[in-house]
Symmetry: C2
Subunit: 356 residues, 2 copies
DNA sequence: CTGAAAGCGCTTACAG
DNA sequence: CTGAAAGCGCTTACAG
């Protein structure tokens, strides 16, 4: 099957003649019989304006449909209420939800929100510079290598906050940043599987955001730490991507190994792929193998078996990141950045006691 | 379980003293021994500049790390290369994918991309006006009531393009817009189910974007048309939301009815909920009931049973919408807006011949 | 409480 | 090929 797409251009008549230029502060002043200066006072809510004058100006403003020119305001005042988000992805659940939190907080604060996607092809420094040219601050989503690399290249004079993976233990990033304790969450998820009677837990990793090509992220570290604390040698982690296809491929290999009875995945997409591979291999979940995901994407509760996973407050991370930037951008502003919810293991059908 | 979140502020030392103000066009002029006028010519690539002069200016530019102030440029030239997207949602697959297409196209064209979420609480006119204040154009995602309402309120003088549901047959929207032929796609999906031997097809709807509260969208129309063409009376459509929970609730009712053997859903999230409800009711898919979704979200191929669905080129719609706006904003620009791919039925495991 | 001046950093004609 | 002037629409001191 295939069906036609449509496009339609135009339709709306061009403005009759001479596009009715927008009213300026001077037009308003003339209409109200005051100087444009006074108009500026009124629109900025300055106190020293006679009530009668203020009223006249307000009337002229509504009569002319005046709106202050944002560009001129920015140039004259040096104030730019805007944030631009730098991210390598907008579709994966963790990124999209973080973006949503950023948008929400920026809207609440009266800030404009820009988005620029980072690609391996584009020059990072150029992208950062042009984003910084917008005038406001930057928020970098550093969940992956590209984002983390961008973070390191942001010039010191550019206001910037970041949402990142949990940094290496004992370290902390060189600029305002927020993160969830993925390491601890992964440890808790692994301990849960161990407590269910599984001899070991296998891990299907998301790509790490930092370190050498072979290195693993905080989720993998937490998983490893839990195994080691239990005196279990950690098996080699697998996984080479973010999506379900990558999970499926890793799952195919794990499914061959009858000793595999518990699998932790770096995100829910990977987990779905693993679930699918186990299904194709005829291994039942959770009777034969337990699977736990990460992130709690919206559909994870509705697949069958429903997915045990770690709920992450990405929206909260986004809101907090905006708050950190806001505090730096607007020193008047006192409200501290909100604290995101802690990761929480959500038990559903895909995990259970080891059988046999 | 629950784990600690972290935040870290500061870290980077404040600039030693006096924040090294950014170099201006005049600083460059002085360094190069020319007037700032000539600098303007060089950065704008004007032809009439002596090669030697151009070189000196370029050197000064790199030496001082000069970047043209985007705000001043916009104010002086009247050119604002920016688009802001108005949408009620950023997380649902259709919206997020459309947004991705818009971002991609805007980036390719050197445009800045802003995002503003529409909420029922905020005043639509104010939101539109402040988005328009950004100076560039607007793109409205009109998949739902809120977006469609915003579309109607965009003042005629604001450059705007839209991506919408297929408009009522024979009509077309009053401004540049792009849409996929959802109606025809739904018809084809329904015909497919009928051809599989099902007596009728039930429909779980997404909320309509226009019309009276009870009215249905183009997907529902296509479904109804296919049934009527086959001489089948269309059953009452169900569904009252966009997400899997809404699908689950609709699915619970349909699952009670043993005559229900085929269900078309307004999107994949709904379909997942329906699948879940059928599972809970002990009805097998596709043996007892066939289910078809809409949109082909990334995970739909990996759930079990994998979901038969209609693939939609949301990214293409986004790219096209940007192209329409671009053509209006920049009359120099000749490249026509790209044409999105047609919707296509993707056959997977959740649909099959009627058994009995 | 209100007005006249200078300036934000750039561009667009206009001269030479 | 290059410079001096005026202006984009607003704000920030400075006067009164």
């Amino acid at each position: 099957m295939s069906v036609t797409g449509h496009t339609r251009s135009g339709g709306r008549a061009e403005p009759p003649q001479g596009q009715q230029k927008a009213a300026s502060i001077r037009d308003v002043a003339q209409a109200a019989g005051v100087s444009y200066q006074t108009v500026s006072r009124v629109i900025n809510g300055h106190p020293n304006v006679r009530e009668e004058t203020r009223r006249r100006v307000q009337e002229a403003i509504t009569a002319l449909g005046f709106r202050r020119n944002a560009t001129a305001f920015a140039l004259a005042s040096g104030v730019t209420r805007s944030v631009t988000v730098l991210t390598s992805n907008t579709l994966l659940y963790g990124y999209a939800a973080t973006l949503q939190g950023l948008e929400e907080a920026s809207r609440a604060a009266g800030y404009t929100l820009g988005v620029r996607v980072l690609t391996p092809e584009d020059d990072l420094d150029r992208t950062i510079a042009s984003a910084a040219d917008a005038g406001g601050g930057l928020v970098v989503i550093g969940f992956d290598r590209l984002g983390a690399a961008a973070l390191e290249r942001v010039p010191a004079h550019v206001p910037c906050a970041a949402v990142v993976e949990a940094p290496p233990q004992g370290q902390s990033p060189g600029l305002p940043a927020v993160w969830a304790d993925d390491r601890e969450a992964a440890r808790a998820a692994t301990e849960h599987l161990l407590a269910l009677g599984h001899d070991t837990v296998h891990y299907v990793a998301i790509p790490a955001s930092t370190g050498t090509p072979g290195s693993v992220g905080p989720r993998a570290e937490g998983w490893r730490q839990a195994l080691e604390a239990a005196g279990v040698t950690a098996p080699e982690p697998s996984g080479k991507g973010w999506d379900s296809q990558a999970g499926y491929e890793a799952g195919q290999k794990l499914a061959q190994n009858q000793n595999v009875t518990a699998i932790l995945c770096g995100n829910d997409d990977l987990a779905l792929g693993v679930l699918r591979a186990l299904h194709h291999a005829g291994r039942r979940v959770p009777e034969d193998v337990s699977v736990i995901g990460f992130d709690d994407a919206p559909h994870s509760a509705f697949v069958t078996p429903s997915l045990t996973t770690v709920r992450m407050d990405f929206q909260g991370l986004g809101r907090t990141a905006f708050g950190l930037l806001h505090a730096r951008l607007d020193t008047e502003q006192q409200a501290p950045a909100p604290v995101p919810a802690k990761p929480a293991l959500v038990l559903r059908e895909s995990s259970g006691s080891r059988e046999t």
